[in-house]
Every structure is written in C-alpha cells, then in structure tokens.
C-alpha cells in the first residue's frame, strides 16, 4: 500500500513537473511577446501623434500626449528611438525645420495598465492549466501503475494461497512427528503414512513451482502411458474414499512422452476434480481411447472456463491458479492439444489429444 502510493506520487511528479515547466515557460514567453507588441502599439501611436502635429502645425491635442519644441543638435547616425523616461515614453521627432526637434512625451499609464492586465490574464490561464494538468497527471499516474498493481495483487493472493497450501501438510507432518515421539496410542504406521502423504503434497507443490520457473527438463521416451495413469488414479483413490473413480482404457497406448510431466498434468487435473467435487455422488472418470485422454467429473465446474489457463486465475478460494497454467505449459511442450469444457454446477471435462 505504501509502495503503491509512493509509485503513484513519483509518476505524478514526473508527469506534473514536466508539464509545469512547459506551461510556465510558455506563459513567460507569451508574456514577453505580448509586452513587446504593446510597446510597438505605443510606438506607432506616438508616430501617429507626431504625424498629426506635422500636419496640423503643432495644434493637435490629445490628453495622453504632451510636446515641446527644442533646438538640438542631433548627429545623423543617432536613430530616433522611443525610450522610457520615468512615467513617460519619450520620442524625438524631426520637424520641417532641421534645427528643431519635437520632443513628444506620452504617459505610460495606459501601457502599464495593459501590461498588468496581460500579466494577470496569463497568470490565471497558467494556473488553471496547471490545475487541469495536475488532475490529468494524477489520473495518468494511477492508470500507469494499475496493471502493475493488479499483478502485485495477484501475486500477493498467489503467495497467500501457496503459504496456506504449504501450511496444511507442514502442520500435519509436525503433529504426526510429535505424536510418534509421545508413543501414545498404537497408530505409528498410520502416522508414518500420513507424514509420507503430506510430504508428497509438498513435493507436488514444489514440482508445479519448478515448472512455473522453467526448471523442468523434458525427456521424451517412447512408453505405455496406461499404467502411469492407473497408478496416479490409485493414489487418488486412497486419498478420496468418498469419490467414485473409474479408469477405462485400451490395453496399451505407446507414446513418446516425458513421464514426470504426464504425471504432473494428471495430478493437477485429477486433484482439481477432487478439490472441486460435487456435494454428493461425486465421480471422476478417466477414459483412454483412440489416443484421447478424457478426464470427466460432475463437480462444481467453472463460471468462466475460457479463463482457466490464465496464470493466477482462480474461481474458488482454495485454488491458487497455477495448476491449469502448468497443465497448459506442459501439454504445449509435448505437443498435446487440450480441450476444456466446463459448466458451473454441472461438471468439467478435459480432453487431451495425444497425437504426439
């Protein structure tokens, strides 16, 4: 949570400060541009005034202006430039008489007023743009970390579930080991068997995780897969006495396959069928026919079967969303096509097409 807010604020400041620099600097440039335009306006109004004085023989009146005639030597190279002198713009205009100059003064009041209005307007526009972009930056910052955030959330749930799944067999190993030490009761063989089955559970979790991390090395060997399937179903039978297991198979089915990977695929598929079994009369039927392996159950099914292979996707609190993802990875690696049909509260059917 703290990290999330940190990254949002970092993204925000990156977006916002670049926009800030852009807006403020364009505001400043615009201000200087407009200011010099205002100055030009003043200049041309003074020129116009000078012209009017020339035409009218110095009788034209305007309350903003004042003038006086001065005899003054002015070298030829000195340009007639308008300059600011205190509260006035001053311009020395030539007259018909080359010895005389018309010194025109115009008050800067109007110019100053315009300048301040300009400044205020630009300031208001800049601030409102900044506010708008502040919200946009905040929105963008949130949006940009959203996928990351979702992933972190998923990983968090995944780890939580994983911890839970490790916890149960670990508790059982610990308790059985301690029961063995107390030598109370006469169930020692059963206690050892339970330690073994819990260890297997942890081991299967470990295998799934190592596939997830791409640590599995495939060894494709031509072999009969029927006994492999049979063995796995037998081990599930022992664990789930209230589920009816059925295995219908042709005599032999030779395939070039990685035994461990096949075992893991079946383990994941059948353990899902057992985990999400029906309340009553639950069954898991496995058919091996015509190079097709079908695993069918009458369990809880899935509401959104199209999402089944998504990593970390789970519709039930007990799942962690890696089993089917691993099934997909392993089948892909061995060129096995997989079909997944599931309906909520009806059941699930997985078809593996084994044309390796």
């Amino acid at each position: 949570m703290k990290n999330k807010n940190n990254s949002i604020s970092r993204f925000f400041w990156i977006y916002f400060s670049s926009v800030f620099i852009l807006i403020v600097s364009s505001g400043i440039f615009y201000f200087f541009e407009q200011k010099s335009a205002l100055e030009k306006e003043e200049y041309s109004s003074i020129l116009l005034y000078a012209k009017m004085q020339q035409y009218t023989g110095n009788t034209f009146y305007d309350k903003l202006f004042s003038f006086e005639l001065k005899s003054k030597y002015k070298p030829w190279y000195e340009k007639n430039v308008m300059h600011k002198d205190g509260q006035f713009f001053v311009y020395e205009a030539p007259t018909q008489d080359p010895t005389q100059f018309l010194i025109i003064k115009k008050t800067t009041n109007v110019f100053e007023k315009n300048r301040i209005t300009l400044m205020i307007n630009i300031f208001i526009v800049v601030i409102s743009l900044l506010v708008v972009f502040m919200f946009i930056s905040l929105f963008l910052a949130r949006e940009s970390i959203r996928p990351l955030n979702d992933m972190i959330q998923n990983l968090d749930d995944f780890i939580k579930n994983l911890v839970h799944d490790l916890n149960t067999p670990a508790t059982s190993i610990l308790l059985n080991a301690q029961l063995l030490q107390t030598k109370k009761g006469k169930n020692d063989d059963k206690r050892i068997a339970r330690i073994e089955s819990s260890t297997k559970e942890i081991l299967s979790l470990y295998k799934n995780l190592s596939v997830l991390l791409n640590e599995h090395k495939f060894e494709l060997i031509q072999q009969d897969i029927s006994p492999i399937i049979k063995n796995i179903i037998e081990s599930f039978k022992d664990q789930h006495t209230n589920i009816e297991f059925k295995f219908i198979s042709e005599d032999e089915c030779f395939l070039k396959i990685d035994k461990q990977a096949l075992e893991q695929i079946l383990n994941n598929l059948i353990s899902n069928a057992c985990k999400y079994k029906a309340k009553e009369n639950s069954f898991v039927h496995v058919h091996l026919e015509n190079r097709q392996l079908i695993i069918k159950d009458n369990g809880l099914g899935m509401q959104y079967p199209e999402k089944v292979f998504e990593r970390l996707y789970s519709e039930h609190t007990k799942g962690h969303g890696i089993g089917m993802y691993i099934v997909q990875k392993l089948t892909e690696a061995m060129n096995i096509r997989i079909q997944f049909n599931s309906k909520k509260d009806v059941g699930t059917e997985v078809i593996l097409i084994l044309e390796v």
Binding site: H164, N167, S197, S198, K279
Partner: protein, 216 residues
C-alpha cells in the same frame, strides 16, 4: 468430552483426530461445513474445532449460523489464515479462540481445555457451586464430596444448569439438549428434575420459564 472437528484435508483431519483421541477426547470429524451443520442439529458437543477454508459452508459462515440459532458451544478456529482481518472476523462471528497453523499439539490441548472450562465460567478443571462440584475433564459430579451416579439425561440437565449456575436456564434450552436423545416432553423433564432434587441438589422451578440451580 465430545469434540466436533471440521477439517477438509484428509491427512490433517486424521492427524488431529489421532492427537485428540490419544488425549482421550471423543472426536467426531466432518470434512465440510454443511455436514458440520447437520451433525450439530442431532448431537451436542463440548467444543467445536473449525477450519475456515472448508467446502460448501466455510468456518465463519458455519459458526455464524450456529450462533444465530442460539448454539453457544465453545468454538476454536484452526486456520492457516494469518492476517489480522481474518482473526477479527473469527472473533466477530463468535469464536472463543483462534489458533494458527502450524500449532503445537500441547498448545492445542491447553487451549481446548481452557475454552471448555470457560464455558463453565471456570478457570480450573473444576466448577464448584454450593455443595456441588463438577470435574470438567472427568465429566463427574460430586455432591458434598461424594461422586454422583447420574443417568445420561440427568447428567445433561445438571450440566446445563451448572454452566449457568445461579441463573435461570430456559426449559426450551434444556429440552433442546435432551431432544437429541429422546422424545423429550416437559413432564419427562419434570421427572428428571425431581429425581435430581431428591439427591439434595437445590434446583428451583421458575414457573413457566425454567429452572435455576440455587445456593444453599
């Protein structure tokens, strides 16, 4: 002492049963919330041990509906959920204790005993009220120091009365406990009560409401 264990993992369920049975508790083990709810309708337990993540009706929902129906059997959650929110929720739905997996077997036994003792408002293995003494572990009543021989029904009635000693226990509540074992009727209950009274146990009949265990 009869406990109900709700745990969906087969291996762990068997292990906990093994552990509790080796400590001479009677354990009924079910693997999902609905089965647990069903069995609490037909049997009374001294304590419930509940896992949270069980199918069909999770531990929280199970305990919550039991408490709503007036079942005050002490309950302990046994769970791998380690976050504080789950702990809060566990106590909010009416748990008496909350044990995180993995746990030490001795700790489990200690906590079970404490929870049962607390249901008798006691801090030890015994409950003493007036001239009556009840040993919680052995499930034996003593009157003035000598052991009482009670029938099953008398035991259930006296057990219910001593849990709320000095307070009125409703007739319906006792009948509810008894209906498990027989077609209980009020007249039948009156017979059992009068037998207990004959043993010199001070039970007062609060007309129309129920019974109260009184001090001498």
């Amino acid at each position: 002492m009869k406990l109900l264990l709700v745990e969906d993992d087969k291996t762990l369920g068997e292990t906990i049963c093994d552990l509790l049975e080796s400590e001479s508790y009677e354990v009924i083990w079910v693997q999902n919330g609905e089965e647990a709810l069903d069995i609490t309708y037909v049997s009374n337990f001294d304590l419930l041990l509940l896992d949270v993540n069980v199918p069909f009706l999770n531990g929280f929902e199970l305990l919550s509906s039991l408490r709503d129906s007036g079942d005050n059997t002490p309950a302990i959650f046994l769970t791998a959920l380690v976050d504080i929110e789950s702990l809060k929720k566990g106590f909010a739905v009416g748990a008496d204790d909350y044990i995180r997996k993995p746990f030490d077997p001795t700790e489990l036994i200690v906590r079970i005993n404490v929870a049962i003792e607390k249901s008798f408002s006691s801090h030890s293995k015994e409950v003493r009220f007036s001239n009556l003494l009840y040993n919680i572990q052995k499930e034996v009543f003593y009157l003035n120091g000598s052991k009482l021989k009670l029938t099953n029904y008398e035991f259930i009635i006296l057990n219910a009365l001593i849990k709320d000693a000095g307070k009125v226990v409703k007739k319906e509540d006792i009948l509810h406990l008894l209906s498990v074992d027989e077609e209980a009727s009020e007249s039948g209950l009156r017979v059992h009560i009068s037998k207990l009274k004959k043993l010199d146990i001070k039970i007062e009949n609060i007309r129309g409401i129920g019974y109260r265990l009184n001090e001498e």
